[in-house]
Amino acid sequence: MTLLADVKEGMELQPLSYDVTSTTVVLGALATRDWRPQHHDYHFAVERNGVKDVFLNAPNQAAWFERYLTEWSGPRGRLGRVGFRMKGSVFPGDTMVLAGTVTSVDVDDTGCGWAGVDVNLTVEGDVKTVCSARIALPTTDDDNPWARRAERWNP
């Protein structure tokens, strides 16, 4: 479990490296109920989208970012917001690397602890997606951000 007190601005999270396969892409698309052919049909991706292969869809990338962030925070970590911009596609055969840096640490007016984290998804050093997230972290051993509701939760 990561406590807010353990986190400092500028801190780097342990990178996650993953070898993407066709199964990764297709499983990710179907798990998010995304039936669009560019995520499972090679010929459509190449001939219609003009890219080299099927590629990871956006909702699945969001799931990868969530997995990365909550593996760091532990289960008490609660995502408040996530935003990302896709600059390039991630294809089968790519080794994608997610690497995060803490950009802010603060406690809001309700006492909720927050970390801002930027995560870059890169392939061979090229940035494919940039992500900015805000995640609530426990401020003490018995604090649980998931217990916050209504006006006590300001993501």
Binding site: T24, L27, G28, L30, A31, T32, R33, D34, W35, R48, N49, G50, A58, P59, N60, A62, A63, W64, F65, E66, R67, T70, E71, P75, R76, R78, L79, G80, R81, V82, G83, F84, R85, M86, N144, W146, R149, W153, P155
Partner: protein
């Protein structure tokens, strides 16, 4: 200042496509989604942890858009139902055969729980003037989607930026 066709300008800020998800939030999809990214967070796999932290099982927050994507086929349906219909409306309106999503942001509010029946509504926020990118010539648009549960609680607000385009002649 961008001058939009009147019919498109009239849609800016207007609530469209209020609809209920086709099925309730269910465990199998949660596990499939976690499996797809090897997410071992015990919150989604261990009922005791879920009971302790969230008062029972919940879905990963980033699954929010999964719950409103329509079945690929359903009895009686003559046309494929499309998620984020406003996006496809803009493609058709401007006769742009290709499109990609470039930006996505989601703000998470109340947790999504097993059995929830979510409702969504879409709001077109903006449409750009014609732009040229490496993909081709087209327009950017921003669409917000609000999600509520059956108790009327806001569970998330998503915002998508799409780029509809026509490939540049090679």
């Amino acid at each position: 200042m961008t001058v939009l066709p009147t019919d498109v300008a009239d849609l800016i800020g207007k609530v469209q496509y209020e609809e209920e998800a086709e099925f309730p939030v269910e465990q199998g999809y949660i596990w499939t989604a976690c499996s797809s990214v090897e997410n071992g967070n015990p919150l989604f796999w261990d009922d005791k942890v879920a009971a302790e932290l969230t008062g029972g099982p919940i879905a990963p927050p980033t699954m929010i858009s999964t719950w409103f994507r329509p079945h690929h086929w359903a009895p009686g349906r003559t046309q494929q139902a499309l998620p984020l219909q406003v996006h496809f409306d803009m493609k058709e309106r401007f006769d742009l055969p290709e499109a990609v999503m470039s930006d996505n942001s989601i703000v998470f509010h109340e947790p999504v729980r097993l059995g929830d029946r979510l409702t969504t509504r879409q709001v077109l926020r903006s449409v750009s003037e014609e732009k040229t990118t490496k993909l081709g010539i087209g327009r950017f648009w921003v669409i917000d989607v609000e999600y509520h549960n059956q108790r009327g609680e806001l569970v998330a607000v998503g915002s998508w930026t799409g780029f509809g385009y026509r490939k540049a002649a090679s």
